[in-house]
């Protein structure tokens, strides 16, 4: 099945060679055929999409600029606020809730001429690595429907992998873009913290969350990043710096670039449980970069082994506070009670799934009096250690390399123990903690012929370097 790229679609629509309506209908047909099986979406918005596609076409006809992503069918993770369109975080507590406003990234996509086709499924409130935690049923991996697409942005990954949309967007707090990208054979980017506005992204862990693109090609992912990034005064953590354009550098190559393979993430030391093919493909990717002129060596980033532990204290702590507002008072579903406290409890008990409850309790505990220093406080200090270790590594290397996920896509129910599930994020979490950018690129296949994802990491605002490396790997992966 051919999956037209966003880059091609935009060029064709802008030039008038194809109409946005035609492109949309093609994608809606694919959705119609396969979505009932895959369940990538919580809602498909044909009416709104058709109206928007028609508008794009009018602009083209009138000689107006329809935007750099004109006519590109785009899917948005259902934790991104869209005016008048249900935004549920795949949770019963927000079932049917329609935001009265658009998030900044959404506004930018509309302004770029994108045609949003629907809101995609996720692990409830972005908590999970398989999309099995959705209150509305899981999403199936288009490459093997017995397997998960990864999570938490499983729906967005599947939408792109299945050709439902040319570009999609998810959020990455501990790997929730990169890991599903790896498991579905797509490209997924977690941008530098502060480069994409979080205004309108329903918060999970505020100091870690970032919106980023999924695409079938590196060039499309770059275009997606460029469309949504930039300073936003409505987000106090949005960085003021002007960002370097990425697309002009895609073909720069990696000659002379210093690439460091992260020793601790190659399955030999303290962190075990990496599938052999995953390791093999990561080494093959390193070889491909060396063949392209990069200087490749191993580098130790010792504190990454503590990343998981620090993350599973920091993220739930912030989440326990961010999710307090779902109390049945103002919006969302309410279960009545004899008084307000009883109503809060009944509403949240009925509305939240098991993993969400687990993390809220964990986070509440970690922040509580007498435990704050031992848990949350200490985890933040570990975070500093990780940042320092990365800084040392980047003195000698331009980018770092590791697997994205320790394994390829796994069967539904295979990782029912929470701790086992959490280990999926081992390689991705460190860059959420440091705020630095990282991208997953498909490279080779592993067990059962399923795709392996290789992760490239860069210093803060190093997206240009990430994409240069990603482009070379994409070329070598043909």
């Amino acid at each position: 099945m051919s999956k037209p790229t966003a880059t091609d679609i935009a060029a064709q629509v802008r030039s008038g060679e194809r109409t946005a309506v035609e492109v949309l209908e093609e994608h809606l047909a694919v959705i119609s055929a396969r979505e009932p099986e895959i369940h990538a979406f919580n809602v498909v918005i044909e009416t709104e999409a058709r109206a928007r596609a028609a508008t794009i076409d009018s602009q083209v006809v009138a000689g107006e600029d329809p935007g750099p992503l004109a006519g590109v069918p785009v899917a948005l993770k259902d934790n991104m606020c869209t005016t008048g369109i249900p935004t549920t975080c795949s949770s019963k507590i927000l079932e049917g809730w329609k935001p009265p406003y658009n998030g900044t990234a959404v506004e930018k996509l509309y302004a770029a001429g994108a045609v949003v086709v629907g809101k995609t499924n996720l692990d409830e409130f972005a908590m999970g690595s398989s999309t099995e935690n959705s209150a509305f049923g899981p999403t199936l991996n288009p490459l093997d429907i017995t397997c998960v697409p990864g999570g938490s942005s499983g729906g967005s990954a599947a939408a792109v992998a299945a050709g439902f949309a040319a570009l999609s967007f998810g959020s990455d707090t501990g790997g929730s873009i990169r890991q599903p990208a790896a498991l579905t054979g797509t490209v997924g980017l977690k941008p530098s913290y502060g480069t994409v506005s979080r205004y309108g992204l329903i918060a999970f862990a505020s100091s870690l969350d970032q919106i980023g693109p999924f695409a079938n090609t590196v060039a499309d992912a770059a275009a997606g990043f460029e469309a949504v990034s930039g300073h936003d005064p409505r987000d106090s953590t949005s960085i003021p710096e002007q960002l370097r354009p990425v697309t002009p550098h895609l073909s720069d190559g990696v000659d002379g670039m210093r690439v460091g393979i992260i020793t601790e993430l190659m399955g030999e030391g303290q962190l075990q449980g990496f599938e052999p093919e995953v390791i093999a493909q990561t080494r093959a990717a390193a070889d491909a970069l060396a063949a392209a002129g990069a200087e490749v060596a191993e580098v130790s980033v010792p504190s990454v082994v503590y990343g998981l532990t620090a993350y599973y204290l920091i993220a739930p702590s912030e989440a326990s506070s961010n999710l307090a507002r779902y109390d049945g008072v103002r919006y969302g579903n309410r279960v009545t009670g004899v008084n307000t406290a009883a109503m809060n409890t009944a509403t949240r008990t009925a509305g939240f799934g098991a993993e969400v409850k687990r993390r809220i309790m964990l986070g509440t505990y970690a922040l509580s009096a007498g435990y704050y220093d031992a848990f949350y406080g200490k985890a933040q200090r570990v975070r500093t250690l990780i940042i320092n270790d990365f800084a040392r590594a980047y003195e000698d290397f331009d980018v770092l390399l590791s697997p994205t996920s320790p394994c390829v896509a796994f069967p539904f129910g295979a990782k029912s123990d929470p701790m086992t599930m959490y280990l999926n994020d081992t390689c991705t979490i460190p860059s959420n903690l440091s705020g630095q950018p990282a991208i997953s690129v498909p490279f080779g296949t592993g067990d059962r012929g399923l795709p392996v994802g290789v992760q490239i990491l860069a210093p803060m605002l190093g997206e240009v370097e990430l994409f240069k490396v990603a482009a070379v790997l994409e070329g070598a992966n043909q």
Partner: protein, 487 residues
Amino acid sequence: MSKSSVKKTESQELLPEGWEMVIGLEIHVELATATKLFSPARNSFGSEPNQNVHPVCLGLPGTLPVINEKAIEFAARIGLALNCTVQKCVFARKNYFYPDMPKDYQITQFDEPLNIDGWVDLPVAGTRIRVERAHVEEDTGKTTHVGDSGRIHDAGYSLVDYNRAGVPLVEIVSHPDIRGPEEAKEYVDEVRAMVVAVGASDGKMEEGSLRVDANVSIRPKGSNELRTRCEIKNVNSLRSIGRAITYEAKRHVNLYEAGKEPVQETRHWDEEAGRTRDGRKKEDSDDYRYFADPDLVAVVPSPEWIAELAATQPPLPAQRRTTLVEVGATKESAALVVQRSLDSLVVDAIAAGADAKRVLNHATNNLAIEGAEELSAVDFADLVKMEDDGALTATQAKQVLVEMVADGSTPADIAAKHGFEAMDTGELEATLDEIIANSPQEWERFVSEPDERPKLQGFFVGQVMKATRGQADGKLVNQLLAKKANA
């Protein structure tokens, strides 16, 4: 700085022998910014419910706070007025569930508040009350409980208005240095005058833009211990503050003297009943799980910015009182005049050439009326000059002043309207002579019987007043009587 040992302390006056009140006050000041602390919604009192709201201050999913810089400026000005150190501050989340808090956490400042370690010198009590901190935080919405008592206990349902949610507050926390209700009221009044003077707030307790909670405990006089305190809420006026503190201190005395102890709790002041009541018992002690808000960055005021604020700080009450003392006011009348915001009127009237003593006398004694601040300094000066020239008696001047405040007319117009003119001495003497001539027996007794003079003086003055329709200057009449009697 301590009070004279001759006078009894408030504790000595109000409590049984040997006990001393230990009081700390938390004052919440609503800042007069155009928009809220973290959201672009309007900050305005008195609107219909839920009109001044926005996704951010409603805490809708996906929204983020953005700091209002004017609020920080106002808060720093308050800190400077309180002699605080203004420092880098970090916003923290105070987590608890309540329907008037849209996010179910309040953004406040915990470990690192904007202002610390200040003080207030009280002009009348003469004491110094130390200020522990003055930090910035967002206000909550307002709940209305719909039932018989208007309180939560018997309500069938509750309504929530989020107009106030997210309004910027500065919370000023004093050390427990206050020793009595009058001192407490003076502290609140002085702080209120300061926050109004720097333009940060309109300080209206009746509108809730200045709110006070009192922390009250007692201890044996002479000891330094801090015993169990109770927090009193719902004290909505200066008078309530005084009454509530007195009631609560006595309640503690009664408990200790009965061999019991007060329970550390929050109590509610019942103005009608004149007593405090225990509030909702909180089962879990207040663990707010404070942590630095990851949606905001630290606010780091530069030394240059702080210096600029200090250099452009409007005159504070203490400075304004000093200015009045310099033009001849007593400490007490200076305090009174500044408290009524009449000091600039006084200073301007004196600058326009009016006699300082008369101006101060009027400001202290005759201008405790609504609208006095709006009085024109030039007109005020003219009035005083008329009095000085003898064109108006003291009594007439007071009446004219009151009318000037009421309708803004000039003293000349009002005097003319009433036909006020002080009588000239010659005319007055002539009138007096006529009355003396018509009352020979009374005059005989006045001259020859000194014991009878006070009563007869009243008679003659009364007659003169009748004859002149109140326009005579009473003092002058007495002088003339004395002169004639002794002639």
